[in-house]
């Protein structure tokens, strides 16, 4: 059954050929992937930086932190203001 043997041989050669094609494609894929990663990263940075960069509604402050919870945050800017004014009187 020489014909069948040749077909199997050819099939094997084709499978090896496909593997080699993959090997040759790999650097191209890796380059595309790196570009895609870079693009996604830049887009992500841009999206996340938008709230930081855009002018925001003026609340009179940028950030409030407190070491205790349950305290009304708005009292702090008011207190900062009162202290300044009282120290000038």
């Amino acid at each position: 059954m020489e014909s069948k043997n040749f077909d199997s041989l050819w099939q094997e050669a084709e499978v090896n050929r496909m593997a080699k094609e993959l090997v040759r494609e790999y650097p191209r894929w890796r380059r595309r992937r790196r570009t895609a990663t870079a693009v996604v990263s830049v887009a992500l940075v841009a999206v996340l930086m938008v709230p930081v960069l855009l002018p925001r509604a003026d609340k009179g402050y940028d950030l409030i932190c407190c070491n205790r919870s349950g305290i009304d945050a708005e009292q702090w800017p008011a207190l900062a203001s009162d202290l300044l004014i009282e120290s000038a009187l």
């Binding site: 990663t37 402050y61 950030l63 070491n67 900062a80 300044l84 120290s87 009187l89």
Partner: protein, 137 residues
């Protein structure tokens, strides 16, 4: 790719997160004080300052705080310029970064206003002048 994005997110978080405030960090773990920071407290259209405020829980913690700041028997609101790393060490304005310390015994509160430059220094003075007009003693 996932790994790269996670690293980037971590870097972004640290960048966009609040800038470190050493004064706040120094006092924040104290059990006897309520410590608050207000970043970007607006003095005028173009000038903001960072403020840290300490509120003592009771008379005892207030006395302790006063001792740390090297003051005693204070009845009225008092203010001075101090070294940025040492509120007890009084300095003159020379253009270098300082903190304006404001002590209010009635409120058992100390405020630290970080002044990095002349613009902030002037703006703070103007703020006081502009706002005190209607609140004379």
């Amino acid at each position: 790719m996932k790994k790269h994005i996670l690293i980037l997110l971590f870097i972004l978080m640290t960048l966009t997160a609040a800038a470190q405030n050493k004064l706040y960090d120094r006092y924040a773990s104290r059990q006897d004080l309520t410590v608050a920071r207000v970043d970007g407290f607006r003095l005028n259209d173009s000038t903001k300052v960072d403020v840290v405020m300490l509120v003592a829980d009771d008379a005892t913690s207030w006395q302790k705080l006063m001792k740390e700041l090297n003051v005693s028997n204070m009845r009225d609101v008092t203010s001075w310029l101090a070294n940025v790393n040492n509120p007890a060490r009084r300095v003159r304005w020379t253009g270098a970064p300082v903190i304006r310390v404001v002590v209010s015994p009635t409120r058992r509160t100390v405020g630290f206003y970080r002044l990095n430059n002349e613009a902030q220094y002037d703006a703070l003075v103007d703020y006081q002048l502009n706002n005190m007009k209607g609140k004379k003693k």
